[in-house]
Symmetry: C2
DNA sequence: ACCTAAACAAGAATAATTCCTATTTAATAA
DNA sequence: TTATTAAATAGGAATTATTCTTGTTTAGGT
């Protein structure tokens, strides 16, 4: 679970939504908060199941549309994976993903130094006719002990 | 279009299939060759449309199943993207992908040096409880001139 | 030339996502 | 605060991508 956990300041999310020109509806707040509160990379369906108990009238279509809206507004991003459903991530800072082949987890991996190394290399390469916007390293790996967390830093 | 173009030695593909313990059926050969012959990263549907004219009785289900089989046998790999359909790649050497935001292309990008830099960095990091298998850099970028190819090396 | 397990075609079924529209609501203004 | 209204939602239908089922065909071994 993400360090900040389940209690993220709702008014901050509200602010972020209106900043993006979006109505701060109950559904959007709840979905955005749910995505913010996890370090998993949930599917629309998973978010739906999670928010439903406390929001019994919310509809799956709204979850899909809201996620799309968040992505369009740069408040979330898609995380495409090999299974054929889309996953979502509210972390918008530059970070990478470890795909654990034995547990199926997608683990966030942030590393300032790696970041710099790759950025600098791409700059030095000066690929003609191409403007690099950002990059994302997908690391396929397996946990030696699936029970235990991996230790980053 | 890939350098080797449309005429890839069929007997080599046949060999690769039997080596993997797979019957070298007409359908598999044609699908595998189609995937080999392109440097795009086609969907199942796109491969189907491409092979259909010369193989009018081939079925879409066979294309899906064959691609799955090729992936299982390590003769192809999946390339997940933000749109919700799967893309496939017959290149099995370690290489990266440039996602062109203005043209939608997925461009192969191979770079021995970058490869090494990242591999060495990950090794030096020695992430506890994790065995890195491989990695793939996704570069989001846009072509300055969408008409022209980008120039790698 | 057989034999047979594996693969295929055709189409049905399912899963993921998008679309439609009557109703509700957040935001703004009176 | 209340009225107004454009935007968003619920609910369900529709569409798209993928998988499954089953009778028929075929590659590869004898
Ligand atoms: Mn390729
Ligand atoms: Mn899908
Ligand atoms: Zn992430
Ligand atoms: Zn590729």
């Amino acid at each position: 679970m993400r360090a900040s956990g389940a209690h993220i300041d709702l008014s901050a999310l509200k602010e972020a939504l209106s900043c993006a020109g979006l109505k701060a509806t109950q559904q959007r707040l709840v979905i955005y908060q749910c995505l913010m509160a996890t370090d998993k990379h949930p599917t629309a369906e998973e978010i739906f199941e999670q928010v439903r108990p406390s929001n019994p009238s919310i509809s799956l279509g709204t979850v899909y549309k809201t996620l799309e809206t968040l992505v369009d507004s740069q408040l979330a991003r898609k995380v495409p994976v090999s299974e054929n459903k889309m996953r979502y991530d509210a972390r918008m800072d530059s970070h990478h993903h470890i795909y654990c082949t034995n547990t199926g987890e997608i683990i966030d991996f942030q590393d300032k130094e790696l970041e710099m190394i790759i950025r600098q290399y791409l700059e030095s390469r000066q690929i003609k006719n191409l403007e690099v916007q950002n990059f994302n390293l997908q690391i396929r790996a397996n946990k030696l002990n699936p029970e235990q967390d991996i230790l980053i830093d």
